[in-house]
Amino acid sequence: MKKLVMFVTLILLIGAVWFFLRTKPDDTKVEKLVLTGSSTVAPLAAEIGKRFETLHSNVRVDVQTGGSSRGVSDARAGLADIGMASRSLKEDEKDLLSFTIALDGISVILNKANPVEALNKQQIVDIYTGRITNWKDVGGNDAAITVVNKAEGRSTLELFLHYFGLKNTDIKPQVVIGDNQQGIKTVMGNPNAIAYVSVGTAEYESSQGAAIKLLPLESIAASVENLRNRSFPLSRPLNLVTRGEPAGLAKDFIEFARLPQVNDLVEAQYFVPVPR
């Protein structure tokens, strides 16, 4: 037993030393492209990056997350070659350039056990601002509403606020969440919760049997289909952001990310390819 442990440890140590000391003849030629930003765009950008790497053998695409605002500020500060933002650029960000690689929509979701089938714009505003606090006021059960809001800096939050004409300080949330999956899990676990998440993710999860339902908005069903034909009102572009006209590797990558060859990757992440 003692000898075995010593042996395993020795092997592990030798392995570790070999791993980090092995010679890398081509190391100097490797070009690195760093992308930071929206956690919604990150998995897609990482997949596009992997395919890009297979076509350019001495390129490495490093994708880091942290939210859209981070992507914008990193691109502006030069900390990243390309920023990722799951929204359009704001007025004070027009010093940057954006390139749309996919579309995503935001849907309001409820637990399947909730009898409410639709909410109009005003009702959603009233629920989120705390003027309606019980489901019976909108035709549901006599139960308190659990309002789920997104954390500051999330583009889903900004888009939601913009669409409903709200300020974040107006919202009276009971739960504050980060990512889409977290929103879905919160609503799955609480029949009286209301949240808003990415349409693609919600549609996939509900098709996989998650106990949630997607509410229509302005009588238009929240579906990938309606995102594609651009009829769904609450949608957002997924953007790559650069400071100034992209050049060199960044330019190649952005062009590659907008080619139809990566449509399968976009759809695999439950987003909608940009029609072109």
Binding site: M1, K2, V5, M6, V8, T9, A16, F19, F20, K24, D27, V34, S39, T40, A42, P43, L44, A46, E47, K50, R60, D62, V63, Q64, T65, G66, L79, G178, D179, N180, Q181, Q182, G200, T201, Y204, E205, Q208, A268, Q269, Y270
Partner: protein, 279 residues
């Protein structure tokens, strides 16, 4: 009589609840995670944002981050613990200052370490998103645990040892190496285990320092995704990543068990060999 029975029942109930929670948690992970776990899963790279494929590069990154953290933190914390328990009086100014700052450091939330690591190691020192940045950040984070447990272990060794060693004319360093450290070994190892546990479970500090890249790292300066970050991303950010998240979580627990048992048997051999303490 009735009071006694009540107390017994309550104590048993508490024990049952505590172990029940553990068994529930573990069996949930095993039931959901085991079917996907295979050699191929452990060796392959993640595909389709981690929904398919394996976790090979992620295990390597995790181990590298852990290695950097422990190699940096262990000597530092051992030296500090020796300073605190052997070379300063308990109520001296420097001792109090060091202890107080360690207690504050121990209470700092890990996200703050992440932001600090990002600002200091990644940006100021120019290490970028890398395994090195992540490992050094974790080293800062586990320092208080390592130091305080090592210090308590050293202080628990009877003063008789020190007096006897001094009477025999042993130098202070010889006493430390041959007598005090070996007899404090169980505490040192326990501290190390706690540190490894905290480090390997860390997500918030690593997402900003070692990063999100799930490729096989070539060097310590490459970004590498840790297992905990991978689990977080799969369960919270990637639709349809739950099965692989479970398998990765199972792997994380197995990894921790393996590291713990290796460290435990190493400690028994190396440290307890020098000293015979049967009283």
């Amino acid at each position: 009589m009735f009071k006694n029975v009540l107390t017994t029942v309550l104590i048993w109930l508490t024990a049952l609840i505590v172990s029940g929670v553990f068994v529930w948690l573990l069996s949930d992970i095993v039931i959901h995670g085991l079917p996907r776990l295979s050699w191929a899963f452990l060796a392959e790279a993640p595909k389709n944002a981690g929904r398919s494929g394996g976790i090979g590069p992620i295990i390597i990154s995790t181990l590298s981050i852990l290695l950097v953290a422990m190699v940096t933190a262990t000597p530092l914390s051992l030296a500090t613990a020796v300073l605190l328990s052997e070379f300063t009086e308990n109520d001296s100014v420097i001792g109090r200052l060091v202890r107080r700052s360690l207690d504050v450091l121990a209470g700092v939330p890990s996200i703050v370490f992440g932001l600090f690591g990002n600002a200091f190691f990644c940006i100021y020192l120019g290490l970028g998103f890398s395994i090195l940045s992540g490992g050094l950040t974790l080293a800062c984070m586990v320092l208080p645990i390592l130091i305080r447990t090592a210090e308590e272990g050293l202080q628990a060794t009877p003063d008789d040892y020190r007096l006897a060693a001094a009477a025999l004319g042993m130098s202070r360093s010889a006493t430390l190496v041959h007598l005090l450290l070996p007899s404090a070994a169980p505490a040192l190892i326990a501290g190390l285990m706690l540190g490894v546990g905290r480090a390997v479970a860390e997500t918030a500090a690593l997402i900003f320092t070692s990063g999100y890249v799930d490729r096989m790292p070539d060097s310590l300066l490459d970004s590498g995704r840790a297992l905990s970050v991978h689990i977080y991303d799969l369960s919270m950010n990637v639709a349809g990543g739950d099965t692989n998240a479970y398998s990765s979580a199972l792997m994380l627990i197995l990894l921790l068990l393996i590291i713990n048992s290796i460290a435990m048997s190493l400690a028994k051999q190396w440290l307890h060999r020098d000293i015979v303490l049967y009283e």
